[in-house]
């Protein structure tokens, strides 16, 4: 079979070039975060001082905490809503495009449009902006992605088990908890991790729906402001930490998917 033969030399070269393109900019940031001078002009020695500066920056720590809170809250809500939506859509007798379109829209609607729509919406209802409004807004696209991930798994799910369970007299809730939930767990977890990653990285919607003050600044907002006010080496250190965290979350999610794959 031709598609599983050893990689050609050309293929190897192509991959090396693409990986260089993808990783050199990231590697530069990581290296600079350990550069004593912090500037890309010269290597002046290994130093952890930019990490020290981060640890002493109350604004960044606060923003990191807010990001975590928003990420967890939005993930929790969207995982529940998105999973129920996926099961509901997959088991519906009547197929309608309206709900399908509604569930798909958050994935493609431009962030900036959703952001300004939410700002107008909240301000016209006189709702005070803050972390809760960011959470509410993040759930919109998070739940769409959870829905997509869970539905992909439901496509291969054998619903006869559910029927058997029902035939044996199990109620909806029991069937849901004992049969459906365990079977879907890997997809639900993968969807939740995806939602979490999207949420902690999201900038523009959070920017528009955040309220006054440090109490609702998230890390991406903080990073954007740091970049706008000049290239400071602290950003490199922060970038390295954030990328490390994201990579870890992704690896866990991959590992789970591998472990649980049917």
């Amino acid at each position: 079979m031709s598609s599983v033969r050893a990689p050609s030399r050309l293929g190897g070269l192509v991959l090396a070039a693409i990986f260089a393109f993808l990783y050199v900019p990231i590697a530069v940031l990581v290296l600079l975060s350990f550069n004593a001078s912090g500037l890309p002009t010269a290597w002046t020695g290994f130093s952890l001082k930019w990490y020290g500066a981060l640890a002493g920056n109350a604004n960044i720590l606060h923003a990191a905490w807010n990001t975590l809170v928003v990420g967890l809250a939005a993930t929790a809500i969207s995982t529940v809503l998105g999973t129920l939506l996926a099961i509901g859509l997959e088991t519906r007798r009547r197929k309608g495009t309206a709900i399908e379109a509604l569930a798909f829209a958050p994935m493609v609607i431009p962030d900036i449009v959703l952001a300004v729509a939410l700002l107008t919406f909240f301000s016209s209802l006189d709702i005070t902006l803050g972390l809760p409004t960011i959470v509410v807004s993040h759930v919109i696209f998070d739940l769409a992605f959870v829905n997509a991930v869970v539905r992909a798994r439901l496509k291969h799910f054998d619903f006869s088990i559910v029927e058997a369970s029902r035939d044996l007299g199990a109620g909806y809730v029991t069937t849901f908890r004992r049969i459906l939930l365990p079977a879907l767990a890997p997809a639900i977890i993968a969807g939740a991790l995806l939602a979490f990653t999207l949420s902690i990285d999201e900038f523009i919607i959070a920017f528009f729906t955040a309220g006054a003050g440090r109490s609702s600044i998230t890390l991406p907002m903080q990073i954007y402001s740091m970049i706008r006010f000049g290239i400071t080496p602290e950003v490199n250190a922060l970038a390295t930490l954030v990328m490390g965290l994201s990579a870890t979350v992704l690896m866990i999610s991959q590992w789970l998917n591998k472990e649980q794959a049917p």
């Binding site: 991959l15 939506l85 509901g88 709900i99 609607i109 300004v116 107008t120 739940l143 290239i231 950003v235």
Partner: protein, 286 residues
């Protein structure tokens, strides 16, 4: 196997309600703003007007739409041109290596978008790493101005969305029925011919999916032109942003946003139509 009754209506209700209240209603509200007059410092005055919609089609702003479309199209083109060989190489690598290669191709996608964009400022600015490297290599001319330009914006977009395109094309390639390729070989098709006549056409749905993704996310992008365009290159996203946070002209921002959504809806419909036509017997069911 028809799925059993799961009280589906009940299950979808919370999510649907959430989307209707927090997505549909706000979007309709903004849509209605597009037909009102602006307040001087944001907000609206309740006088009906078509001026904002008309203004969105003024040649000046229509050109921003065209510029955005051009930038998005070029980003899509380059992303696909780079992603295809990479995805192809991954798909032809030994099976046990494929997940690892794919993982590392996609990994950057999950790091922060702002940070990935910022990395290019560090590399490209006139006193940045690339210019310093050139100087170290003996280049003695004026430092190159690479940042704050249209190519820089396109580069930023390609860089940010490339992983996703690789993923999309790979998943199409990996679903290809190897027997088709073998059959082509058996019928005397050379490697190039087989690729051109069999592999490429069958992987087009993946190319389309990845391409539409890059295009849609690029045309509405705000961060990349703001950071890599130096404010000189505006795309629709920046125009919308400015109407809300700089010009404080909400109705015009709303009108621009609506035109953007209309363009994207049209695009997605076309893509769905194409996907439906291309689907069917060519790809092996996953």
């Amino acid at each position: 196997m028809s799925p059993p009754d799961m009280k589906s209506g009940l299950l979808v209700t919370p999510a649907v309600a959430w989307l209707v209240i927090f997505m549909l209603a706000p979007c309709l509200l903004v849509l209605s703003y597009a037909f009102l007059e602006r307040g001087t410092w944001g907000g609206v005055e309740y006088t009906l007007t078509l001026e904002n919609i008309a203004r969105a089609f003024d040649p000046l702003y229509a050109r921003v739409f065209l510029t955005s479309a051009r930038i998005a199209a070029l980003a899509t083109l380059f992303a696909v041109l780079l992603a295809y060989p990479a995805a192809y190489a991954i798909a032809r690598a030994p099976r046990r290596w494929q997940p690892v290669l794919l993982f590392f191709a996609v990994l950057p996608f999950w790091s922060n978008y702002l940070i990935r964009t910022y990395a290019w400022i560090v590399l490209l600015n006139r006193e940045g790493l690339v210019n310093n490297l050139l100087k170290a290599l003996g280049y003695r001319g004026e430092p190159l101005s690479m940042l704050y330009s249209e190519p820089a914006v396109i580069l930023g977009l390609v860089y940010n969305y490339l992983p996703f395109v690789i993923l999309a094309i790979y998943s199409a390639l990996s679903r290809l029925n190897p027997e088709l390729i073998e059959a082509s070989h058996d019928l005397g098709g050379g490697a190039l011919r087989t690729f051109w006549r069999v592999t490429l056409p069958l992987s087009l749905p993946g190319v389309a999916a990845g391409g539409v993704f890059v295009f849609v996310l690029s045309i509405g992008n705000f961060v990349t032109p703001a950071l890599l365009g130096g404010g000189r290159f505006q795309m629709i996203g920046n125009l919308v942003y400015d109407q809300f946070l700089a010009a404080n002209d909400w109705p015009f921002g709303a009108a621009l946003g609506m035109v953007l959504i209309a363009i994207m809806t049209a695009l997605l419909l076309v893509q769905a139509r194409l996907a439906a036509r291309a689907g069917g017997d060519t790809a092996r069911p996953a």
